[in-house]
């Protein structure tokens, strides 16, 4: 067994592979990021999410990440656009992908209101792409410095992306193995009928059995699709399923660029031959046919230096260990995960909840005993308010902001309480946090928040 693992390990890291998948990956990722970033700009979200709000919900430990003001934010996005372009064409690749990773991640860390699994996924992918020589083939860098050219790379450079994608799908599948998803067909039984105006299939969506079919198919798809993509026999079918699955979900739900990102990046599972064909096609439409004949025969193997290799291996092992453990951290917290959301983020839990809430905050002056309701819109955007109402860590952050603000207004040690009414997967609203607890005195840390009220519904 040990030898078997060792052999697998060694083959994962050392087998020689053609570099073509990396080059295609670079162009696919760069191009889709370019489109995503431009789309984000055109939708006016830079202003709506990072300039307009007066307050931001920072991530624990990243309180130092602040928006950069209007000019700064647009500059940051301009850098993202340029970096994505450079990645796509493979010019100044390392600098470009490092810049992209840092800028993108910075933006994501500004405010957890906008947290999406697929933004996290982009950060992870960009991070992994820093480690690989994706610019050593079919790139401007190679035109610029022909001695950068490599035709073969060690397997890990391609394998890490496959592994990451398998993990994403698999964990997304595992997270669907719940009572809500499988037995209650929640939240799809709410979401699907909402699409009943769609042509042709619209009428079907109102049937309960359809919600069950979608739920079960979704779970099975997520659990197995990664492995089906890995297996050469099932690969073609799997990719067709990937395209259908993501196009359909993209069509039904408002999930932005995510489906297209997945359709683009899962190409990496295909063989080098397929990738060479893609490159050949690109060569033809860009009118550069010649040099391929030379490089195809030459076998130039990319090998990082010993030190660099050790560093990269350590990073990879550390990265995937974290990736494997992070989705399970919720087990350390009591209560229903969807309700408390303690350990919910960064775990590939996608589209699992129909959750909504309304939160009222109250300030009491301990000196006079007078109480006041807070007008949330004075401090938060509508989007922030909606997200905050259903997430305890954000409720706490907001309560702390209010304590500060009212302290400034001259109220000493204001008592901040919250009445948030939350509904989860059709449960109907119920009180979410203990409305008697002075949140100004509660601290944010890794421990369970005892002031979250338990989830319970009375069955009729």
């Amino acid at each position: 067994m040990f030898n078997f693992i060792k052999a697998q390990f060694s083959s994962f890291f050392n087998t020689k592979r053609h570099i073509a998948p990396l080059a295609v990956m670079r162009m696919a990722f760069g191009a889709i990021m370019l489109i995503s970033t431009i789309r984000f700009l055109l939708k006016g979200w830079v202003s709506a999410f990072y300039i307009k709000p007066k307050f931001h919900f920072t991530f624990y430990g990243f309180e130092w990440v602040k928006p950069l003001g209007a000019t700064g934010m647009y500059l940051l996005f301009a850098i993202l656009v340029i970096a994505a372009m450079l990645v796509t064409i493979g010019l100044f690749y390392r600098a470009a992908i490092v810049t992209f990773f840092l800028c993108f991640t910075y933006v994501e860390l500004i405010d957890k209101t906008t947290y999406l699994n697929h933004y996290y996924f982009i950060s992870v992918m960009a991070f992994l792409m820093i480690l690989v020589p994706a610019n050593r083939y079919f790139s401007v860098d190679v035109l610029r410095k022909p001695n950068l050219l490599a035709t073969y790379v060690p397997n890990w450079t391609i394998g890490i992306f496959k592994l990451q994608l398998i993990l994403v799908y698999f964990f997304a599948g595992v997270s669907k193995l719940t009572y809500d998803w499988l037995i209650a067909a929640m939240p799809l039984r709410i979401w699907l009928p909402a699409n009943s105006e769609m042509p042709i299939i619209g009428g079907l969506l109102t049937h309960l059995w359809v919600a069950y079919v979608f739920s079960w198919f979704g779970a099975v798809f997520d659990l197995f699709i990664g492995f089906m993509l890995l297996n050469v026999k099932t690969r073609k079918l799997a990719y067709i399923l990937v395209v259908i699955f993501h196009v359909v979900t993209g069509w039904f739900f408002k999930i932005g660029m995510f489906p297209y990102i997945m359709i683009f990046v899962t190409i990496i599972f295909f063989s080098a031959t397929t990738h060479l064909r893609i490159i050949e096609f690109l060569r033809r439409i860009t009118g550069k046919r010649k040099q391929e004949t030379v490089s195809k025969r030459q076998e130039i193997v990319y090998q990082p230096g010993i030190l660099q290799k050790q560093l990269i291996y350590s990073i990879i092992i550390l990265h995937f260990t974290v990736q494997l453990l992070l989705p399970f951290r919720y087990l350390l917290y009591p209560g229903k995960l969807y309700w408390t959301e303690e350990g919910y983020r960064f775990s590939w839990r996608v589209m699992l909840m129909e959750k909504g809430g309304t939160a009222f905050f109250y300030i009491k002056d301990p000196a006079t005993g007078k109480r006041s309701e807070v007008i949330n819109s004075q401090y938060l955007t509508q989007f922030q308010e909606d997200q905050m109402a259903t997430q305890p860590d954000m409720i706490l952050q907001y309560a702390h902001l209010l304590a500060q603000e009212y302290q400034k207004k001259g109220i000493k040690n204001p008592v901040v309480t919250a009445q948030s009414y939350v509904t989860l997967n059709g449960s109907g609203t119920m009180l979410y946090v203990d409305s008697t607890v002075n949140l100004a005195n509660e601290q944010e840390d890794w421990a369970h928040k005892k002031w979250i009220l338990p989830f319970h519904t009375k069955q009729q």
Binding site: L177, R189, F253, G256, K355, I363, F383
Partner: protein, 372 residues
């Protein structure tokens, strides 16, 4: 490699199947599976509620404008009383259409142009003394529309004799009359613009946008229903009653402060919102109540969400009925009754904004964003 993978799958699957079979207490919606006719609901809303609403409101603004013209020509006590009556009738009709701030109304920002209060008395007086009125100026939002007329017709003197004097012998009487005419004409023009679109091209657009996203008609209706309800809860009741100001009361911030019909208007307003919810006009057509029932929506106590919402409408209305005009006086003398009404109104906010939208899978948002 493959063996390892299968091993992992089997182990993980077993673990999570066991996990998932620990019964969790959720998902007790009993979706009947029957399809709800959203198009039918939209048709009912547009034909039986929205268009008749705008027709009545527009007619009221026409009558009001005529009464203003008569009063300007002959400012006497009888014409003032007639004008005041026409004004109150218009204010009452407005309550029925305030919630439809999408499509034609949104295009001209009808709600804020018609009913931004409290009226900015200083701005109104400065407009009169300088004989200038620029309707597009942002600072004039609180110096126009119904609240400004409320002040001009009821608030510029202790009684009708004193008020009348402002238009006859008072300083700037001429421009005061002109201003009155400009404001009522603007109300009429806006109402006519919206009604014209609603009686020509817009109903088809409205009925055909029968999805559930933010831009769809159902999405817009629900969002505006909730938004307008919040206006009622906060601006008509909460803020004046001091619930958001550490107990400092702002009785002068109520709607229709000078004509003293605030409670009447609030009641008409909530009843109008209730009718939108029920899809109710002369007869009871398809509304959000039927939509919720078709979706099998439940409240957290296991009863039907529709029943809960209807009951809460009734409770809130009863609490408002317990109040009497002038509301500004009630706020200072019987604040407990006003805040009691506010508390019940707040419960309804949660039901409409969170329970209803979540049960129907409709996003309550005034912006736009991706999900995942």
């Amino acid at each position: 490699m493959r063996k390892l993978i299968y091993l992992a799958i089997v182990a993980a699957s077993t673990f999570f199947l066991v996990e998932s079979c620990k019964k969790s207490d959720s998902g007790d919606q009993t979706n009947t599976g029957s399809s709800f006719d959203r198009k039918g609901m939209l048709t009912n809303m547009s034909t039986n509620i929205i268009i008749p609403g705008y027709t009545s409101y527009q007619a009221a603004t026409v009558t009001l404008n005529t009464a203003v013209t008569t009063f300007i020509a002959t400012p006497n006590a009888a014409n003032l009383t007639a004008l005041q009556t026409a004004f109150q009738a218009t204010y009452k009709q407005w309550q029925a259409v305030s919630a439809f701030e999408f499509g034609p109304a949104a295009q001209i920002n009808l709600r804020v142009n018609t009913n931004t209060y409290p009226a900015d008395v200083n701005q109104i007086n400065s407009n009169i003394t300088t004989s200038t009125y620029q309707p597009d100026l942002l600072t004039n939002l609180a110096a126009k529309g119904l609240p400004a007329l409320d002040y001009l017709l009821f608030g510029t003197g202790a009684d009708n004799t004193a008020i009348l004097a402002q238009y006859t012998t008072g300083a700037n009487a001429t421009y005061r009359k002109t201003y009155l005419g400009l404001l009522s004409a603007e109300l009429k023009t806006n109402a006519t613009t919206v009604l014209t679109t609603w009686t020509s091209t817009y109903p088809a657009t409205f009925v055909n946008a029968n999805g559930t996203d933010v831009a769809s008609s159902v999405g817009q209706m629900l969002n505006q229903l909730v938004y307008d309800y919040e206006v009622l809860k906060n601006y008509e009741i909460g803020i004046p009653a001091g619930v958001q100001s550490m107990g400092t009361l702002y009785p002068q911030k109520v709607q229709a402060y000078y004509s003293k019909i605030s409670v009447q208007l609030a009641l008409l307003h909530i009843q109008a919102l209730q009718n939108i919810y029920l899809g109710k006009s002369a007869s009871d057509g398809l509304g959000f109540d039927d939509y919720l029932d078709a979706a099998g929506a439940k409240y957290s106590d296991g009863t039907s969400l529709n029943a809960t919402i209807k009951a809460q409408f009734a409770t809130a209305i009863a609490k408002l009925q317990a109040l009497s005009d002038p509301l500004s006086t009630q706020i200072t003398t019987n604040n407990a009754a006003v805040t009691a009404a506010y508390t019940e109104l707040q419960k309804l906010t949660v039901l409409l904004k969170t329970d209803m939208s979540s049960s129907l899978g409709i996003l309550i948002t005034y912006g736009d964003n991706d999900g995942d």
